[in-house]
Symmetry: D2
Subunit: 350 residues, 4 copies
C-alpha cells in the first residue's frame, strides 16, 4: 500500500473545515497532517479548539493535532481551504506563492482569470489554466470549487448543454441552514419560516458561476457560456441539502424523455478514472412524482450524487426540473476533495 | 343596529370550515346559524363533531350548534362552502339550484363558464357572469375564490398588468402545511425536509387560474388573459403562509421603482366600499432585503393583506419579486367572506 | 379619560424590550415615552435602532422616539427593564437610587433581601418588602418578575400549595427558542433536535425561585417555602411557549379531581381588581388528553393565562400534570406589566 | 464462508419493517428471504408494495421479492415481526405454534408469562423462559424487545441497579416522530409544537416494562423488580431519537462520579460474544454540558449505542441524567436483530 499524501486543512474549526476533516478520515490517498485556523484556536489541540457540530466526534488522530495559524509554514504540499471569505483571498495567494496546491472552497478566487472553477465531471479542461497560473506564481496554485448551489445546478445543466445547448435558465433555491455555517441562521428565523434572501451575493453567484463553469478555457482565457441565468434564493428549515427548482430553455428542442436520457447517461472523468470520492453516477434521475427530497435523497452515494426529479415539459421554458445537492458535501468539502483527487490523478500535485 | 344575515357553513369541521367559523365570529354582517358536514358529524353538537385545530377554542355559540348534513334544507340564503373537492361539485350545484348563494372555496366550479372566480380587488366585473348563471339556475348561484397561492399571485400581478401589461410569469411556490388540511402532510415528510410536489393539480391551477382572473368577462363569456404562466410548487415546514418567488415579463418595460409605485397604489372596490374584511391596502410593499417572511408578515391586516418584497430588476424577465399570502385567510376562508361582503354590498345576495 | 402615565423601556431594542413596546401599545394606563438601550443604539430613532423581530411592525409613535442610554436621566417615574443580566444589576440599582420605580424582568435582583419577586396572583404580600427597600434607597425601588418557566410553575403550584401543602416537585421543561433572545439558539441546534441544557443557571432558578415566591415575607425578611424542587431543562424547536412536565407531592393527599377543582377556582388580586392585563382566569384547565400544546394554547387570554392539562394520579409523587406558559408574555414582559398595574392599583407608583 | 440463515420479515412494508430490511442488508448471519404484509400488499413485488420512507432505496434483491401474507406458510425458521399491535398478537401466536422463532417488536406478547422481554446486555437470563414457552408451543417461540423508549431507559438503569440498587425513577420523554410510524403525527401538530401525550399506553409501558426487564426469571416465572417508575411522555419535532430526562433514587447512595463509572464500565453478553450488531460500548457517557442531542448522537455505533449525559447530583432523587436512544434502531428493529443474534449464538434458533 502506497504512502498517503499529507494534507493541511485551513479553517479547520469551521463548518466546512469540519466536513473536510470528516470526509478525509480514512481517505485512500490523503491523510490530514496539519490543521490551521484563526489565532484564537492556534496552539490548542483540535479537540479543544473545535466545537464539533457534525454527528459523532472528530476522528481520534486528528483530534490530537495541534492547530496552527494560516500564515505559518506548512510541510504539506496540498492544502484544503475552508477559510471564510473575509480572510481566504490573501491567505490563499500567499500559500500559492509559497508553492502549495491550494484547493479551496472559498469564493474569493473563483473568478480570477487563471484560476479553475472546477467540477471534475463538467469542466476538467479548465485545469489548463494552471499552466498560466503557475507561470504567474512560480509553481503553486489555487483551484476552486463553486458555490454550493451552483454545483447542483451546473451538474444538472451540463448534459443538457452538451445535448441541446442552453439559452436561458431560471432557478429558485430552497437552501439548507448548514450553508450559512455555524451559528449561522438564528433558529427564530428558521422555525415555521422561510427567509427569501441570502447575503454574500448568493443570487449573483448563481447567475454567474454556472456560465463560467460551462464556458470554455481557450487561448489562455476563460469565456463565459452564452446563456442567461436568473436566480431567486431562499433559506428553509432544512439541515442539509439545497433544493433547486430549475426552468431551462435549450437551443434545440428537448422533450422530457430526451432530457432524462441525457441526464442519466452523464458521466465524466472522475467516473472514468474511478476517483475515490467520485459517485458512480453523478446524477440520479428519480421518477417518483414527489422526489427529490432533502431528507431522503441528500445522502445518495455518500452525498456526492446530485438528484434530479420531476423532469417535465414547460410551456414557458420548454423544460423544468428539480435538483438536490448536499450542500456541505458535493457542494463544498466533498467538491474540493474530488478536485484534489483529479489533480492527483493528472499528476498535477506539486 | 341592523339584524345580521344568517349564514351556513358547509364542511364546517374541516380546516377551511374552521377558519370560516373563526373569521365569522363577531362579523358585522353575517352570523353563523347553520353548520353542515359529513354524515359522520351530523347530529352532533359542533364542539363534539369538530376537533378544533386552530389556537384557542371554537366560539361558544357556534360550538353548541348541531351539525347537519349538506343535502338537508338550509334556512340561510347564504352558504359558505369549505367542502372537499370530492363532494363539493354536486352539493354546490344542488344548493344553487335550490336558490342559495353558494360562496365556495372549493375548486370544482372555478372554471365553469358562468361562475365568477372572484378576487374583489381584481375582477369585480366578473360578477356580471351571475346574470348568465342565474338564468340557468333560476336564482341561486355559485361564486368561487381562487386556489390559495393564486390569490397571492393574482393580487401581485393585477397592478402590473394594469400599468404595464403582462407577457410571461414564472412562479415557484414554498407552500405552508395548512394548505393540505388536517392531518394533511405527515410530519416525517415536513421536518428537515422539502417536498417538491403538491397533488390535486396545484401547478395547473397556478398556471390557469390567474389568466382567468386577470382576463375579461365580455359578451357573456370569460376570456383568458393573454400571458403565459409556468409554476413549480413545493411544500415546506411552515404552518401558515405561502411564499411565492415570481418572475415577471411585462409588455411595456417597467423598472423596479415603477413597479413598486404601481403595487403600492393598488386599491379596489373592497377598499372603496370599505368592506368589513377588506384590508386598507391589499398589497404591502416591504423594503427590507429579507422580507416578506411567513412568521413575521402573514398576519398583516388580519391575514387579508398580501406582502410583496424584493422587487428587483431581472436580466431574464425584467422583474422579479417575492409575494406572501396567508393561505387559509386571504387564500381561502377570508377570500370567500370578502366575496360575500361584495355580493352583499352590490345587493346580489338572494 | 385620565392622562396616561409616561413610562420608559430599558433594553428596548432586545427581545423582551420589543415585547414591552408591543404589549404597551394602546395600554389603558401607560404610554411609552422614553426608550433606552446600549450605546450602539443611542441617538437613533427606534425604527432604525431596532430590528423588529415580532410579527408586523413597531407601533408608529414609538418607532419615531429617539433611543437614549440607560444612565441618562429619565422623566418617567416608571421604568420597565428588559435589560440583559450583564448590565441590569448596576443600572437598575442606579435608577432606583434616583427615585424610579424599576419593574424588571432581569434576574439580577430577584433574590435580593428586600426586592419582591412578584406574581400578582400568587404573592402580592411580598410588596410589603418595598417598605424596607424604600428606606434603603430613599424612595425608588425595584420589583422583579420570575424567570419565564418559573411563572408557569409557580402559578400552577400556588393553588395546590394553598389547598394541600407542597412537599416535593420535579419539573422537566421543554422551552421555546424565544426564551434565548435573538439571535439566541442557532438553527442547526434547533431543527430536528433537542438541546438538554440551558445556560445561565436555568435549572437553579427553577429550583429556587418557586420557593421564594411561594414563601412568606414576614418580620422584614423573605422565607423560602419548605418544599424541594428538582428541575431538568430542554430547548425544543418551538418559537414561543414553554411546556412543563410537573410531578407534585402534596402534604395532604390530593386526588386529581380535587387538584383540578383547586386549579380551576384559583383567582388572585389582579382578577379582583380587574387589572388591565389580568387574565379572567389565571389557569385554564384543559381536559383533552393531548393538551396543552404550545401552538394551540400559548395565546390564551392574550398570552397571560397559563394552561394546565393532563392532571392525573401518579404512583411516585401523587400527582402529575402538564403546564404551558407563553414565555415572552406571561413569562416576561406581560408579567412585568401586570406587576406595574398592581403597583399602580395599590398606589405604590412614585 | 458459512451459508446465511434465511429469515422472513412480517409487516415488511411498515416503518419498522423497512428498518428490518435496511438493517439486515449485508447482515453476516441473516438473509431476507421472505416478506409478508397485509392483504393489500400481498402478491406485489416489495418495491411496489412499499413506499420506502428511509433515505435512499430498498436493497435491490429485497426490492424484487414478492410480498406474501402473514398467515401463509413460511420456509424461514426465523421470522422478524414488525407487525402492528392490532394484528401481531394472533399472527405471532400462530407462527410460534407452527414452530417458528418469532422475534418481535410488537407489544402484544411482551408481558406474557413465558415470553422473554429481552435486552441482550441486560437480561439474557430471561431466555430461560423459552424452556417453559417451548413446552407450551411444542417448539416454536416468541421473543420480544421492549418499547423504544424503554430500551434507552433500561440500558441506562441496568448498571445503576447492579451497582447501587434502584428505589424510584421518574422519567420524562421527548420522543421522535418516527416512533409513531408513517404517516403518524400530522405535520401541523409537529411544527412549532409539542404534544404532551402519546397514545397506546406509552406511559404505562415506560412504568412497567423496565421493572420486568430488570426483574428476575426464577422458578419458572418472572418477578418485577422492586422499584417504582413514573413517566410523562411528549412528542417533539425530531425525526429520530428519543430523549429521556431521568431522575433516579438508588438504594445505596451514588454520587455522579460513581454513577458515571458504573455506566462506562457496562458491558454484556453481546459484547463478550461480539455479536454482529452489538455496539462496542452499549452506553456512551458524554461530558459536554449540552449533550446528548438527537441530531448529533443518535447514530453512535450505527444507532445501537445509547448516549447518556449530564449525570449530576439531584436534591430530590440523588441522581439525574439524560439518555438518548435511536428509537427505530436500538429501540426497535436493531433491538430485535440483536435478540436474534443472541438466540443464534446460544444455539436457540430452531
Amino acid at each position: 500500500m502506497a504512502t498517503k499524501i499529507d494534507v493541511g486543512v485551513l479553517g479547520a474549526t469551521g463548518a466546512v473545515g469540519q466536513r473536510f476533516v470528516q470526509l478525509l478520515d480514512g481517505h485512500p490517498l490523503f491523510r490530514v497532517a496539519e490543521l490551521a485556523a484563526s489565532d484564537r484556536s492556534a496552539g490548542k489541540p483540535y479537540r479543544e479548539a473545535c466545537t464539533w457540530r457534525l454527528p459523532g466526534q472528530p476522528p481520534r488522530d486528528v483530534a490530537e493535532l495541534t492547530v496552527g495559524t494560516c500564515d505559518a509554514p506548512f510541510r504539506s504540499r496540498l492544502l484544503f481551504s475552508g477559510l471564510d471569505s473575509s480572510v481566504a483571498g490573501e491567505v490563499e495567494d500567499l500559500l500559492a506563492a509559497r508553492g502549495h496546491a491550494v484547493v479551496s472552497n472559498a469564493r474569493n478566487h473563483r473568478l480570477d482569470p487563471d484560476v479553475p472553477l472546477l467540477i471534475p465531471e463538467v469542466n476538467p479542461r479548465h485545469l489548463d489554466a494552471l499552466d498560466v497560473q503557475r507561470r504567474r506564481t512560480g509553481g503553486g496554485y489555487i483551484v476552486t470549487n463553486p458555490n454550493c448551489g451552483v454545483v447542483g445546478l451546473a451538474l444538472a445543466l451540463a448534459p443538457l448543454q452538451a445535448a441541446f445547448g442552453l439559452e436561458a435558465v431560471a432557478v429558485v433555491t430552497l437552501q439548507a441552514l448548514s450553508g450559512a455555517g455555524y451559528p449561522g441562521v438564528a433558529s427564530l428565523d428558521a422555525v415555521d419560516n422561510v427567509i427569501p434572501y441570502i447575503g454574500g451575493g448568493e443570487e449573483e453567484k448563481l447567475e454567474l458561476e454556472p456560465r463560467r463553469i460551462l464556458g470554455r478555457f481557450a487561448d489562455g482565457r476563460f469565456e463565459l457560456a452564452d446563456f442567461a441565468v436568473s436566480a431567486s434564493v431562499h433559506r428553509v428549515a432544512v439541515t442539509d441539502g439545497h433544493t433547486l427548482a430549475v426552468f431551462v430553455r435549450t437551443r434545440q428542442r428537448a422533450d422530457p424523455d430526451e432530457a432524462v436520457r441525457a441526464l442519466q447517461a452523464f458521466r465524466g472523468e472522475p467516473q472514468e478514472r474511478r476517483l475515490p470520492s467520485a459517485p458512480e453516477r453523478p446524477l440520479h434521475v428519480l421518477f417518483e412524482p414527489d422526489r427529490p427530497q432533502p431528507r431522503l435523497d441528500r445522502e445518495r452515494e455518500g452525498g456526492m450524487a446530485v438528484s434530479v426529479g420531476r423532469v417535465r415539459a414547460d410551456g414557458l421554458f420548454g423544460l423544468k426540473l428539480e435538483a438536490l445537492v448536499h450542500n456541505t458535501i458535493r457542494g463544498a468539502a466533498g467538491a474540493a476533495i474530488l478536485n484534489a483527487e483529479l489533480l492527483h490523478a493528472r499528476g498535477l500535485l506539486p
